[in-house]
């Protein structure tokens, strides 16, 4: 039954329904029931897909009273932050080279 590798986000998103769940959760955190009402699959099927997404680290859950609310993991923002941080680090050191170079050339 388990055909994906544990923690493999790529494989987890290889499924059309799971992508639909991710898109839906991008709009707002939701319970299984809320998700099932907007998707053409049953609640148990939604739960199964959520389990895969959770194992892949893409979805997190928390309790709200008696309900369990599912939401997207913030790893996406962290990954984007990391990319931009690397970009600006390199741009800044390039900037220093560029700004200090003309002064040397003119002297």
């Amino acid at each position: 039954m388990v055909t994906y590798e544990e923690g493999d986000g790529w494989a987890a998103l290889g499924d059309r329904t799971r992508r639909a769940i991710v898109v839906s959760l991008a709009e707002r955190p939701q319970s299984v029931g809320e998700l099932a009402s907007t998707l053409p699959i049953s609640r148990p099927a939604v739960s199964q897909h959520l389990k895969v997404l959770k194992n892949a680290g893409l979805v997190a859950e928390h309790a709200a009273g008696t309900r369990r609310i599912y939401e997207l993991n913030t790893a996406g923002v962290i990954a984007l932050h990391d990319q931009l941080d690397t970009f600006w680090s390199r741009a800044m050191s390039g900037f220093r080279d560029a700004v200090e170079q003309p002064a040397q050339e003119q002297s």
Binding site: G7, G9, W10, L13, R19, V22, V23, L25, A26, E27, G57, L72, N73, T74, A75, G76, V77, I78, A79, L80, H81, D82, Q83, L84, D85, F87, W88, S89, R90, A91, M92, S93, G94, F95, R96, D97, A98, V99, E100, P102, A103
Partner: protein, 159 residues
Amino acid sequence: MTDVDHTIVRRQIVVEAPIEQAFTVFTDRFGDFKPAEHNLMASQITETVFEPHVGGHIFDRALDGSECHWARVLAYEPPDRVVFSWDISPYWQIETDPEHTSEVEVRFIAETDQRTRLELEHRNIDRHGPGWEGVRDGVDNDAGWPLYLARYAALLAGV
């Protein structure tokens, strides 16, 4: 790491140059220090143009003459400050909805006549969304989820 605000990137650097020169090099020669492979163009880029006025753009021009406008100049106050938008989605595509763009503020502070501190703040990164709202369009793109998740995995692995 949990204390870091992931919606903001802050960098600062001190350069041995007067404030006017620091500002001019940052705007005029942006393309000279921007990592070269960092562009969205299909063909090789020949230059990066920073239009020096509010309402202008920062854009890359490619060998074939095409242009990629990836930032809007929001403030241009030489030699003290410049602010521009970051209209690049997590999928390395141009973001056309300003609501889903972040912004970069660069401040220049003269420490002496010959030394300038540059403070850069790239903020509101979360406005891009964690990339999720682009899943519909970006998920099948090699530069989309696969890139994203590879980086995600690298983060988890502590690389």
